[in-house]
Symmetry: C2
Subunit: 153 residues, 2 copies
């Protein structure tokens, strides 16, 4: 089971996200995994996800990847806290309350991008996550997300 990503445990009705939904065939279908206490995701974005200039990665994609990977890491951290037995569909569902991205330097197109997310705080249904995005070990952007767990029926 260890080769399954956070997103593989999302309920089916919550798996349509353009960024991370395994049932969205048009989307990025990113996959996030634990690396110790950090959530890690690696992806090589298609080259047409450029910013104004052809060789610079689209800032909107950076924000999008941070959002999805941060959401996945928040959900996985909450599942850990609740000691939920992991099986498909078992992952708690979260929505983004706020997202802040600081763009530090241009991110090159055509490179593998690494996202690393760290859970800063879990306060009941609210999880605060910080995320970095880097290529070749250089951090190009930092994000801060507040995620809120959806109340289940």
């Amino acid at each position: 089971m260890s080769d399954m990503a956070f997103q593989d445990y999302y309920p089916d009705d919550y798996s349509h996200c353009y960024g991370c939904g395994r049932l969205n065939e048009n989307g990025h279908q990113i996959k996030s995994f634990w690396d110790g206490d950090e959530g890690v995701c690696r992806i090589v974005p298609k080259i047409f996800y450029s910013g104004g200039m052809k060789d610079i990665l689209y800032g909107g994609l950076i924000a999008s990847l941070m959002d999805c990977h941060g959401a996945g890491t928040a959900a996985a951290a909450k599942a850990r806290e609740l000691n939920i037995e992991m099986e498909p569909g078992a992952m708690p569902r979260f929505v983004t309350a706020s997202l802040k991205v600081d763009y530090l330097s241009p991110t090159p197109v055509g490179k593998e991008v690494e996202l690393r997310a760290r859970v800063e705080e879990i306060k009941k249904r609210k999880v605060t996550v910080s995320v970095t995005l880097s290529t070749d070990g250089s951090v190009h952007a930092r994000g801060q997300l507040i995620m809120v767990q959806i109340k289940e029926d």
Copy 2:
């Protein structure tokens, strides 16, 4: 000339953005216009830009649209301030320094989305912009951007 969008005045080498580049045939190619002192952009996103659930718009797309529309409005405001005569290629180029999005309520898929941007401050090369995203007059998200003008050679 009044039917030309902010993005139609971007230099060619700055028109490859997935969100707003007129030369990016894979992207959204959003168009922004003045409505008094507000920049306005309307778009009906393709339905596969969904969030976790099929009927909710992808939060990453919301951040992306705010980024591009905010950048366009910042550039157009700077051009106004500098009294630049508008012609293709004349628009000043900006990059995003930071982007903050507060998601207030779910945005439905399949609706026309309206973005409205207001320039809060122009301080030399730094322009602060606030943006709302709404459908049918209901605001679903608010954004705050800090844009920085690229120094030209």
